[in-house]
């Protein structure tokens, strides 16, 4: 604990003080926060802290064990790297939101009960949306709104699940759960939304590419990996997750191949990577949970590196559309190299971080005999190299020369990318370093001959496929376009249905009103006919005739009386 403040809360509180510092001091202060937080975790003990009882419920704000610790380390590292990457940025909204968002994510990792988790869960949603809105375009405003509604919705589901759980079991402790009751399903759904399960995934591809250059780097690290952690904590060994995860690895890569916005390609590949982790959680063996945690650790780094390099392109060129880029290696050679290192890492080339992480999950799947899932993951591994490993660097930095010339990325961006790239290689080259941090003890050798050759074969033949398809001009060119995905349901169809219903009900209401009005008209006309100025009952009669008629009546009465 730094100054006796829980991890996470330290960054949130620290973010509030950012306006007190100016210029260089602010840059130093912002870097100090995550580094101090990391320092205190490194020699911090495991256990529960700050626990108290509230209306018979045990609130555990901080629970540190090996599972939360590895995520805690990488969240702090990611926050520090993102801060360096954003050093040139003077936007105080982004600075404060970024730190508070990182703090919320870290707080959620160490939450020992569902209510604390819920509080940080929602704090993540509310702080992160400012990183999207800070782009200050109409598109980012709309995307941020959609993002916020979905993220807060996830929190509401989590709270509902927690309340039901408290009602069912009398405990709100955040421990391993077994699917069955409504409470557990609601909690799984809440995690699933943030983890971008199929059909709940589109907020990710919708919002991340709309965020600011630096905001996307922050965003790529925390929300989704926090959800992976929550799944690993709450639902390890849930078989359903194996198939959900396998689907997640496969379907986004089709989109990634045809997507034009390169940061959106990265968002699709992020989704694919989450799939590997979810499969690991679903298998649930110690090897598989280690795989999911190692993958999350390595993934945060190389995904941040890729978003950093595309962010640098967006910053310098003003666009990351594949159709408008090409040949940038001439202007941005360092960024190109860093991007390629990120691409090699995500593709799991031997000697890069992805290799030693993904191998654990693939081995766990094979070890437990899930043949079909294994084939899908292998397909997804080849596919991820295809779209993230080749497509991103190729269309941005090589391909045909767009003629665009710009300056190399700012120095602070290059420093952040350089450190991240170094970590990607260091982890890949020296596997015991990452393996020693994993939740369970590791007895695994990633660098065996058959494993290395198999993986290099898979990747090089994928590259060959790309080269051949390019050569024969079969590869689909980058086109200015959007591709329909599940978000069409709430961006087109639901509004259309809403408008249709409103139009219909308005028509119906109008005709009811018209009928009513006609009835009134008819009634008024009827009354008018009989009681109006010309009506028979409203005619004026001379008093003489009345007297005559009275006389006639009286006469008649007299006659009948005597009869």
């Amino acid at each position: 604990m730094v100054l006796g403040i829980p991890p996470g809360l330290f960054l949130i509180a620290g973010a509030l003080l950012v306006p007190l510092f100016q210029g260089r001091w602010r840059q130093m202060y912002m870097l100090f926060l995550p580094l101090a937080g990391l320092w205190c975790l490194v020699d911090g003990a495991s256990g529960t802290f700050f626990a108290f009882t509230f209306f018979d419920y045990d609130i555990v704000p901080v629970r540190i064990d090996r599972l939360s610790l590895i995520f805690g380390y990488i969240f702090h590292i990611a926050a520090a790297l993102s801060v360096v990457y954003a050093w040139h940025n003077k936007d105080i909204v982004e600075q404060m939101a970024g730190l508070a968002y990182a703090g919320s994510g870290i707080g959620a990792l160490f939450a020992g009960d569902l209510i604390t988790l819920f509080v940080y869960w929602e704090a993540m949603a509310v702080t992160s949306v400012f990183l999207i809105w800070a782009r200050r375009t109409n598109a980012s405003y709309a995307a941020g709104m959609r993002y916020l509604i979905i993220q807060v919705g996830s929190g509401v589901l989590l709270l509902s699940g927690a309340i039901l759980m408290a009602h069912d079991t009398g405990s709100i402790a955040f421990e391993k759960m077994t699917l069955g009751s409504l409470a557990t399903w609601l909690i799984l759904l809440a995690f699933g939304i943030k983890c971008a399960f199929p059909f709940m995934h589109n907020w990710l591809q919708d919002s991340y590419p709309e965020a600011t250059v630096t905001g996307t780097v922050f965003l790529s690290a925390f929300t989704t990996k926090c959800a992976v952690y929550a799944l690993a904590r709450g639902f390890p060994g849930t078989e359903l997750l194996i198939y959900v995860g396998a689907a997640m690895t496969a379907f986004p890569i089709f989109y990634a191949v045809i997507e034009n916005d390169l940061r959106r390609v990265l968002a699709y590949s992020l989704n694919n990577q989450l799939g590997f982790m979810v499969v690991g959680v679903g298998i649930g063996s110690t090897l598989a949970i280690n795989g999911a945690a190692a993958h999350a650790f390595a993934h945060i780094l190389y995904k941040a590196l890729l978003f950093m390099s595309m962010g640098a392109v967006l910053y310098r060129v003003g666009t990351v559309k594949g159709s408008e880029l090409g040949g940038l290696y001439k202007s941005m050679p360092f960024t190109t190299v860093f991007c390629i290192i990120g691409a090699a890492s995500i593709s799991a080339f031997p000697l890069f971080s992805g290799f030693i992480a993904k191998s654990l999950t693939l081995s766990a799947v094979a070890h437990d005999g899930y043949f079909a899932v294994w084939l899908i993951l292998l397909f997804a591994s080849a596919g991820v190299f295809h779209h993230s490993g080749i497509k991103i660097p190729y269309f941005a930095f090589f391909a045909h020369d767009s003629g665009k010339r710009c300056k190399e990325a700012p120095l602070n961006m290059l420093i952040a990318m350089g450190i991240t790239a170094f970590l990607c290689i260091a982890i890949g080259v020296h596997s015991p370093w990452l393996y020693s941090l994993l939740p369970y003890d590791v007895d695994y050798a990633p660098y065996t001959t058959s494993h290395v050759i198999g993986q290099v074969q898979l990747l090089m033949f994928s590259a060959l496929a790309f080269a051949v398809l390019m050569r024969f001009k079969i590869y689909p060119p980058e086109l200015k376009s959007v591709n329909l995905d599940f978000d069409i349901t709430y961006r087109k169809w639901l509004p259309a249905i809403y408008k249709w219903i409103i139009a219909r009900t308005r028509d119906g209401w109008q005709s009811i009103l018209q009928d009513l009005r006609q009835g009134v008209h008819r009634f008024v006309a009827y009354m008018f006919r009989h009681h109006g100025p010309e009506g028979i009952l409203a005619r004026t009669w001379p008093t003489g005739s009345m007297a005559l008629w009275v006389a006639v009546l009286l006469g008649g009465f007299l006659l009948t009386y005597y009869l």
Binding site: I258, T449, Q457, S462
Partner: protein
Amino acid sequence: MTDTSPENPGNGGRKYWLDNPRNVDKVYWSVILVCVGLFLADALYHKHPEFGIEKVFGFYGLYGFFACVGLVLAAKGLRLWLMRGEDYYDDNEDKS
């Protein structure tokens, strides 16, 4: 940033290695060469397969190649169905 035409990209007179199409050919053929080498390498070591299919000669290479070709062709087909203009969502959003 300075925009210049592709014909005169303003390299400051500098010619890059990849600007020459013959060098691009060299990259292409070296990828093929590496793949052939890797394919043949399967004969040189002892495999530890978890599944029978891994025993197929050059399994990983063949799988990677055909998976990627299938992926690209399928994605290209999906474009017919999924692709819309860039302003597809603009008519009911961004009005503010």
